[in-house]
């Protein structure tokens, strides 16, 4: 009987020691990222049958479990990925938002100053000083275009670098998850599939959470304890102990545009850029598609409009010496150096000219030839086929959205990316250097005091000559400011909302898995008391035994 009580006491001591250790583990990991609270699960030992019935035999530690809810964790991952996406988007959008409406560096003040200078020439057509001011302001204006465009290019570089570092991070994380998968399968085997390797599971879960910060993921649990991770539209990133790698590569068209490819073992790589969403990567790609590219195209459109329309009017006039006006601005062009990109393997030559800046869209275009007879021109902003020719000839002038587009000499399947206005803000420059060449007078030349063409040039400031006659240059620019401002504003609201959702999900998850120190303190007291009670049992056993020995001795 006594040995039974000693056994019970010992089992209690052992169990509470384990409980205390677990509580200590919890306290020690209170600040460990990804840690789930653990608990020693106690169970009664099998009773012993005696004539008097079943006698209790003490306590056993059945298992150390972690408080973990799969649903809540999935929710945290989903929220993390969404939040990281809108946050990255918002972060980038804020930068462009800061750039475009600056009182000193935005386009508005330069445009205004330039047209004021044109008015100055209209007021004093014979004054060389006024003409010089107009040329200087023209230089400032073109420089402002270049600077704004350069800042947008910088943002694109920044975005591309972000993509690269995200992809690196994803590869590291995917490798880590695969390694944990392997370890977890082995560890589960050690416990006969019954004892969960809590800390390994926590760490793998943390990697998953970090992964979802970079990209939206789908996670499928396997029977052996490993997890398979899919990204995009079901492309597998981690399969058991194997991880595939992502890489950033230049797009087939434009080296400034990056594509993300997934290489699965030896089977080559697949482009998955278009199917990626969520996370840092999704946010960055979204920013490029929805904010940066349209804004830069729209800025370029103003540059094209200003350069071509100002030049047209300028050529209608006569300069101070009676010569017909020459180009005031150097006009942007659409060319193979920077705005027309043939896909590798394409044949033939594309030529694109601006016909009417008024009709230009702030969009890119793709021209495809099927190799035999059909040419298709697609506007990429809305994926609309804007021109199609099935008779094997695209050499005529195909006038689309204010552009004249031709393709000659294509003999095989070919594809061209055309970005009519992307580089225009960088290309616009001053052509005139001699103030006397400013065509302030009308044609035929009536004399140096004639300011009629200068008045006509000044009138361009408010003439609605862009966006199909709906906007002046300034209007077109304020439209960019408005668009970017609205998108940034929406991103800000979105980001705050998603942050709240994430906080909420995290709080929910942590109410299950998190460590509360007060709770642990209470547990500490509880288990300490239990331990002390079990120890008291030993004393009792001891004194009982002493009493028995004493009785025998006497």
């Amino acid at each position: 009987m006594t040995t039974g009580l000693l056994g019970i006491a010992t089992s209690g001591l052992m169990a509470f020691q384990r409980n205390l250790a677990t509580t200590g583990h919890n306290i020690a990991n209170v600040n460990t990222e990804g840690y789930s609270r653990q608990k020693a699960e106690l169970t009664e030992r099998l009773p012993q049958f005696t004539g008097a019935g079943f006698m209790g035999n003490g306590v056993d530690v059945a298992s150390i479990t972690r408080s973990y809810d799969d649903f809540l964790n999935t929710q945290v991952r989903t929220s993390t990925s969404t939040y990281a996406g809108v946050d990255a988007y918002h972060r980038m959008a804020t930068q462009i938002d800061n750039i475009i409406a600056d009182q000193d560096t935005g386009l508005s003040p330069s445009l205004q100053a330039f047209f004021n200078a044109v008015q100055g020439v209209a007021n004093d057509p014979t004054s060389i000083a006024a003409r010089q001011v107009m040329i200087t302001q023209g230089q400032t204006l073109t420089q402002t275009f270049k600077t704004l465009n350069g800042q947008m290019d910088d943002l694109r570089d920044q975005m591309n670098q972000g993509l690269s570092s995200s992809v690196d991070e994803i590869n590291t994380l995917a490798g880590g998850i695969a390694a944990f998968n392997q370890q977890i399968v082995v560890s589960l085997g050690q416990g006969g599939g019954k004892q969960p390797p809590n800390d390994l599971l926590d760490q793998r879960n943390l990697l998953l959470e970090k992964l979802s910060q970079q990209i939206d993921t789908q996670v499928v649990a396997q029977d052996d304890g490993s997890l398979n991770v899919f990204i995009g539209k079901g492309q597998s990133l981690v399969m058991g102990a194997t991880a595939n790698t992502l890489k950033v590569q230049n797009s087939a068209y434009d080296s400034n545009q990056k594509d993300i490819a997934l290489s699965a073992g030896g089977t080559g790589s697949v482009l998955i850029t278009d199917s990626l969403s969520g996370g840092e990567i999704g946010g960055l790609l979204d920013f490029a598609n929805r904010v940066l590219d349209p804004a830069q195209n729209a800025l370029g459109r103003i540059a094209v409009g200003l350069a071509t329309q100002f030049n047209t009017q300028h050529q209608l006039g006569s300069d101070l010496t009676g010569q017909p006006g020459v180009d005031f601005f150097a006009e942007p062009t659409v060319s193979y150096s920077g705005t027309i990109f043939p896909k590798s393997g394409s044949t033939g030559t594309v030529s694109v000219n601006y016909r009417d800046a008024n009709q230009l869209q702030a969009s890119d275009y793709r021209l495809d030839f099927d190799g035999t007879s059909t040419y298709t021109l697609t506007r990429l902003s809305d994926n609309q086929v804007v021109a199609r020719n099935a008779t094997g000839d695209f050499s005529g002038t195909n006038s689309v959205d204010g552009l004249d587009i031709q393709l000659t000499g294509a003999s095989s399947t070919s594809s061209f990316l055309i970005r009519p206005t992307r580089a225009a803000a960088d290309q616009i420059a001053m052509n005139l250097t001699d103030p006397r060449q400013i065509a302030a007078a009308a044609t035929p030349y009536a004399g140096p005091g004639d300011n009629r063409n200068a008045l006509a040039l000044a009138a361009l400031q408010t003439a609605p000559k862009l966006l199909n006659g709906k906007a002046s240059y300034q209007d077109a620019y304020t439209a960019i400011v408005g668009d970017v401002g609205s998108l940034t504003h929406a991103a800000e609201i979105n980001s705050t909302a998603q942050k709240n959702l994430l906080d909420n999900a995290t709080q929910q998850r942590d109410s299950v898995s998190g460590v509360n120190l007060d709770e642990e303190a209470a547990n500490l007291v509880k288990f300490q008391q239990s331990y002390q009670a079990a120890a008291q049992l030993i004393t009792v056993v001891n004194s009982t035994f002493d009493a028995l020995i004493g009785a025998v001795r006497s």
Binding site: T126, T488, Q507
Partner: protein
Amino acid sequence: MRISTSLAQQLGINAMLDQQTKLSKTQLQLSTGQRILTPSDDPAGAVRALDLTETLESNRQYQSTLQTGRNRLEFEDSTLESADNVLQRARELAVQSVNDTLTTQDRQAIGQEVLQLRDEMLGLANTKNANGEYIFSGYRSATPAYRFDGTLIPPGYTYQGDANQRQLQVGALCSIADGDSGFAVFEDIPSVGLAATTTGSGKQSVLDTLNTLADALAGKFTVPQGTIRGTADVSTGVDYSGGPVNFDLAVDGGSAATVTIPAGKYANANALASAINTGIASSSLNGTVFAQAKSGHIEFVSATSGAASTVTISNDAGGFLTAAGFSDPQTGPGADLGADPFHDTVTASLTDIDTALQRILDTRASVGARLNALDTQENMNAKFMTDTQANLSETQDLDYAEAISRFNVQQVALQAAQQAYAKVQGLSLFNYLR
């Protein structure tokens, strides 16, 4: 519900960070005085602010243009006032000179003064503004309005400007002429003098009027030749590079001969006249008629003077007559001086001077009206700018009272968050387990 200790801590810190962000934004608003720091703060407001700023800047430019216009019109007005004085004096002298008690010497002395007045008038017509522009030359502001041409028959003043007025943009929908052409003020004056009647134009410049008066006072009279004058201004030249053109001329009732202008481009009226003279010299009319350019118009003048002389132009082939403004046919007779050329000339001059005075008066009235219009426009612009400025300020300026109270509220909120954090962090069961 279990509160995770580390999450609770993190949330407490986040709350403080949030409050700090808000506080720092309000601080930035307060230090810049701007409600909209970036377009995303209020996209619609940012766009409106840009539009209003543009409107405001454009109006500033209009106001500055308007000042330029006012200066020029005031300068023109003072020049015209001097011209008015000159003509008044000339009129007095003309009236004085017809007094029959005056001797030839007296008249010559008066003639000397009229010559002075003529030169003074020339100076006024050739007035330059501060930019060095001749204000009465129209668009040809680099060229003096008048030049004396001794090669003309009879010698006289030729107008070198054009009839254009330069417009200045002084409001979004308002432009105003910053001057008047010498053509309207001095050149295109109806005249009853012999010269004007014989050329068929009926017009004579005020300088030629003074010149004729001075000549008459000096006893010099020019018997008019047969003359015809084209009504068109060909001073910007004609282009006959497509082929030669020709027309017929007849002098003093003689038979007509064809004059050919060779193919080519003629840059101005003088070049055209000299080409015509070459054509005349190689025809049977050689020495009987001359072409000349006066004030940008082509004139044909016969070599003989008096009522018997005529010049007839006809049979246009190639468009010269139309281009130069002749009828087909058109005949110009010469004239005789009459019995009392002195009185006739002075009387005609008096009428012409009165007409010229009236023209200057009309022009000054027009200048005054334009100055008034500028004042009105300036007030309108100023009013519009004040409204726009108010609108802009409402759109983008910070409401300080609101911002300061917001700042205080946010400050209190931050302090509260900090205090709450410190208090909550102090709460731990471990504190009681000693």
